[in-house]
Point group: C2
Chain length 452, copies 2
């Protein structure tokens, strides 16, 4: 259910809402943007509820930008970014955030890598100094790189290799994407992580961690001019040192074959079936299809009032859970997922048949205005609940801007959601929910039995 | 069943046999090799049965060496190699071969691209002159490149896009290979072929079509010294102009999920089920596993006396056909395939169950010496029948040398096949025939029904 463009709604909905309360048109949030001379984009999202700021730097590079054979490199570099510089040895940045009572985090996705701190507003410049410093002065020696590689390998072992559901998920992705690098795991394949070197990390850093490939997002108790001044004194001094290549990844061919992937493992306690459809993203969709798919995910499988939950869990009583989600926020195509897990005594085949029947019923029978309106209210409201988190606010803009959207798209999101018609929703469902462009993933509790 | 290393046997078996007739040990063929000063390898396979020669140039580059997003480039360049040079305009080379009553061909695979002529022996030098000329003097203008791209697109449409079995095969490959470029079609994805340019082709040509990346194979009524002299006067004058990168492709992770792919199409008249297992190749296998897998493919599914045919077609009468094959000749890992097609009134599920039962029976019950000896005799004999074709003779060495084998491997092949024990065969079957590293492909005649 997590979805950066659902996240995106939060800003648009909330600020739009505020503007509407003032009696004007839905004017959107007071988001301000500008660009430093070295090419670094800056987004300022004023949020004056408390004297804190969320400071994020987003690099327009993720695992899908890696060279084949070097999977995991973007994520590995994210780890290495905490290894210190000449002026600030490893640990100093994190200790500073911690002493200020702040929080920090970093994450790598297919399309972006981001670094985050939430701190008292008066320490914003300190954060900028640290972050600008490691944008250009990172020091990597084998003494720190090689042990960190073991940390990443262990992370992979504990999160993926020892979890049948994660193994299935990885195989489903590798199967869904016949050509596009989204088929490779963000953390990387074990044998390729093990071969990553200091030189690989440095080359990736030099190629992509340049200010003209970065976006600064500051949300919090600041205004544009304050941020402009501070950013100019810190990030503004970082020289542009590379021109990253255009983000053109191999596209999928027309998919024509339904695929199935199964993992059977003694450790599985709750079997499940999921169907992953290749779907357009907000960036790649025609017309308003991505908006329609976001609503479809709510109508079909968003929570206990959704069609799948009512049919499989409540009415038929065959499923312990069922739902759907759509991840529309990606630079290239994305996925729409439906899933269900059987109650004891019911089979995965029953669940799959019931999922299919509900999808077919929606396509054949359509949705009525009431149902669609409830979904719109729910989808937009969900995002407003998120608004209390300043981090979500900042994340919304960072993820949008690194996946091919702009600030306007974020601001206009609620309005375009509200405009979707039942016909558009059904049309998007018809186009997307096609077996020939899907993978069905089966997770079973039967003992593995290596063959047959 | 076509398999270059099965092909490879032909030379070894035949020449070895000839040596044995002379009372000596199986000494192998009188294959001679040398290297020109510019790095071009030369293989001479004397064959004096008729005054003809087979002249081949093999480039150590195939579709698996393409950059992602440029699928089809190796094959496209193969087409463009017939577009002429300054000294020999388009058509002149082919017309010359034709006027001599000769044959010509060219082909692109995952690991190599090769050009072939079979002509009267006295015209060998002419062939070398033409081939050496287009190794370095190819002229490409948009006037010839763009129409040829349409030819390739049409080739793809007629061979793949309009054939459900070919569509399934492409999707099975894309599914089997989670990381390795063997998952991409040799001919390329439609949308990527359509975007290939003259510049792409020329850059690929400059990078890979250099004498130090090529192997000349001459089979026929010539000896080493004649070939050395002619090659020196022609190919020897081509300058080395690039150093192709090491052929290190992304490797597969440990595969842990069984996958299924289905295509249902009204045009399918004969439904079928096939199971493709990830298998080691001659180059990547441990010990003698590849030899054992070649024999396994005969025991299990090589023709009407094989286990699968006897069980499914003859005894149970449920199948119209059934068999297996192994493609061991590749630079990286390969595949082992079993398949069957139902008779009317029998289901694909029945066929699949029966295939599984026969594989399990072999693993549990083993094979006896008699059965294995028959398979060895058959496999080696099959290759001898091929010997009448001088092209096969040349192809054997070209494909071996471009997929990481050497002349010795080819010559020793029959002897190593003869040494495989029943235990080795069963062990290789156990290791390879594991669902978790397989894709099951279903081809059905039911109307497509785009979704559900």
């Amino acid at each position: 259910m997590t979805n950066a463009l659902v996240g995106a709604a939060l800003a648009g909905a909330a600020f739009g809402g505020a503007a509407a309360q003032n009696g004007g048109p839905a004017a959107g949030p007071k988001v301000e943007t500008f660009t430093l001379e070295n090419g670094m984009d800056v987004v300022v999202v004023p949020d004056h509820r408390a004297p804190v700021v969320t400071h994020m730097v987003w690099y327009k590079v993720g695992s899908a930008d890696e060279v084949r054979g070097k999977s995991g490199l973007a994520h590995f570099l994210e780890h290495l970014m905490f290894k210190g510089t000449k002026s600030h040895p490893a640990g100093e940045f994190s200790n500073t955030v911690s002493e200020l009572g702040g929080q920090e985090n970093a994450f790598t996705s297919y399309d972006y890598t981001a670094y985050f701190q939430r701190v008292p507003k008066e320490t914003l410049k300190t954060m900028m100094e640290f972050e600008a410093d490691r944008m250009t002065n990172l020091v990597l020696t084998d003494d720190v790189v090689l042990p960190e590689r073991d940390v990443v390998l262990e992370e992979r072992r504990s999160r993926t290799d020892s979890d049948p559901a994660a193994q299935l998920s990885e195989a489903v992705s590798a199967t869904l994407w016949m050509n596009h690098p989204y088929g490779l795991p963000i953390i990387g394949w074990d044998h390729e992580i093990a071969a990553l070197t200091r030189e690989d990390a440095l080359a990736f850093y030099e190629k992509y961690y340049t200010p003209n490939n970065a976006i600064l997002v500051v949300a919090g108790d600041v205004n544009k001019e304050e941020v402009r001044a501070l950013a100019g004194e810190t990030y503004g001094k970082v020289a542009r040192r590379a021109d990253p290549p255009p983000r053109v990844r191999p596209r999928e061919p027309l998919q024509v074959a339904a695929r199935r992937v199964a993992v059977a493992d003694a450790r599985v306690r709750q079997p499940s079936v999921s169907r992953v459809y290749l779907a357009p993203s907000y960036r790649t969709a025609q017309g308003d299809d991505a908006y329609a798919l976001d609503l479809l995910s709510v109508v079909l499988g968003g929570g206990p009032t959704s069609r799948l939950y009512r049919a499989l869990v409540v009415e038929k009583g065959i499923a312990a859970g069922a739902g759907s989600w759509y991840g529309g926020s990606s630079l290239d195509d994305s996925r729409f997922v439906v899933y269900g897990s059987p109650r004891p005594g019911h089979s995965l085949a029953e669940i799959e048949t019931a999922l299919d029947a509900e999808m077919q019923r929606l396509i054949d029978g359509g949705v009525n205005m009431d149902e669609l309106e409830r979904a719109k209210t729910r989808l937009i409201a969900d995002t407003i609940y998120d608004l209390d988190s300043q981090a979500s606010l900042a994340r919304t803009f960072g993820s949008a801007l690194t996946t091919g959207m702009d600030v306007r798209d974020v601001i206009d999101w609620p309005e375009r959601i509200r405009a979707i018609t039942p016909g558009q929703l059904v049309e998007a469902a018809k186009k997307t929910l096609q077996l020939r462009q899907s993978v069905t993933g089966i997770l079973e509790s039967a003992p593995a039995g290596d063959r047959t």
